[in-house]
Subunit: 254 residues, 2 copies
């Protein structure tokens, strides 16, 4: 469904009901599923606007890659909850495209807002390409000159007393692009956080940065360090960086 409001890009909207297998042990939508579904819905908008992945590959030999996410979580959608997911390609500059997602309840209240940064990559040399106007024109997003400043993560070199886990990359971690699926990284990071802590704390804000793709046959060396209620995560020497701000859950939220 399309609509064009006062905002810049074209808004694309989908109704969604959280299935059992996308719900975690606390009966809330998994954050990795949230990211996967968001990606799926932006793909649907692109197809509806005549800019499918196939079109982008055939006409420009490019493919889309998300390089950064920021999630702000009011509360997570719950199992079987009927929600509305909206997405909009907000703006773009020479190299970066900015897209937002809103997960809303039936009353239109935003439960989760995601901002994301995308690049177009060359399918052969896998390098970032300039954003061609023709690719992004149908989304009606604003062309800007400004580059939005990325989040500053704790670098691998500054992890001091990190906990470490090694995850072998498995077949089931891969997606159609032949590399580890984007959504997996969050699971690897958050699976290191103590279960009892997770019973009483919810992610409030999450930053994810993808710097290098990870292929089958690699081992993931994941590090984690807590600073008060923020967990810093680093995978394979800055290949991916994740930062999660945890908030104590009040009784009535659980």
């Amino acid at each position: 469904m399309f609509s064009k409001g006062g905002k810049m890009g074209i808004l694309y909207q989908q109704n969604y009901r959280v299935p059992f297998y996308e719900s975690d042990t606390f009966k809330q939508m998994k954050i990795s599923s949230l990211l996967a579904v968001a990606l799926q819905i932006s793909g649907e908008q692109s197809e509806a606007l005549g800019r499918s992945d196939v079109w982008v590959a055939e006409n420009y030999n490019n493919f889309w890659a998300v390089i950064e996410y920021e999630l702000n979580i009011q509360r997570l959608p719950r199992f079987d909850e009927a929600i509305i997911i909206e997405t909009e390609a907000i703006s773009y500059n020479k190299f970066f495209c900015y897209r937002n997602f809103w997960f809303k309840n039936q009353e239109g209240k935003t439960l989760v807002k995601i901002t994301s940064t995308w690049v177009l990559m060359n399918r052969e040399n896998r390098k970032i390409e300039r954003v061609a106007d023709e690719i992004v024109a149908p989304y009606e997003s604003e062309k800007i000159s400004k580059i939005i400043r990325p989040h500053k993560f704790k670098k691998a070199a500054s992890f001091e007393e990190a906990e470490a886990v090694v995850y072998p990359v498995r077949f089931s971690d891969l997606d159609m692009n032949g590399h580890v699926n984007n959504a997996k990284y969050y699971d690897w990071a958050s699976d290191m956080v103590d279960f009892d802590f997770r019973k009483t704390h919810q992610p409030k804000q999450i930053f994810i940065k993808y710097n290098h793709e990870i292929l089958y046959g690699t081992d993931i060396h994941a590090q984690m360090e807590f600073e008060s209620n923020v967990s810093h995560h680093n995978l394979n020497d800055d290949s991916a960086q994740i930062e999660i701000s945890w908030e104590k859950v009040s009784e009535n939220q659980q």
Copy 2:
């Protein structure tokens, strides 16, 4: 959507399109996703017939558990393919309920058929209960006296030169029931199969048996042994047993 054909139970039908995040590196629907979606759709039928999990819990203090699957695969649904999923509670006896699933293409051809065996468990003592007629009546499945003979798996004790992998159970492996999600077991088993072999072979028939639930904090000790083109898998001393018959893929299928 409901319909009542010549067959015994009430048929429940859903249109489905295979999303990106349920597609594997070969652009085919993941088998773990296939099982997860099947479960979801049987849950939807139950809800539509007034026999939701909540109803079963509140009125009988029971919950449903799948104890066995058999999958027969003509070909797997492909990424973005529009398919039709049908399910029907076929029959039941004193302790077991039998339900089928069909994944069909747009021409109505069955791509994957799943037969499954279910039990009702007591929520407190987690023991199998007798099937109450009132619970299953709305599905209009046939009451039978016969117990369908379960598949005979290679037992843990008869694994001789097995390959072994240890998988720690992670938070992201759990579902709302607080234990490892059913669909995970297949990933653990099949992730042990050589990648190059998987490039040229497809699962043709799969048997899965769940004997004991696995909780957080446990390690999964997975064993695998090949006998010609059949891989036998055993998790935690017969807690789960999986058998996969692999078929060489012809050029035009890939």
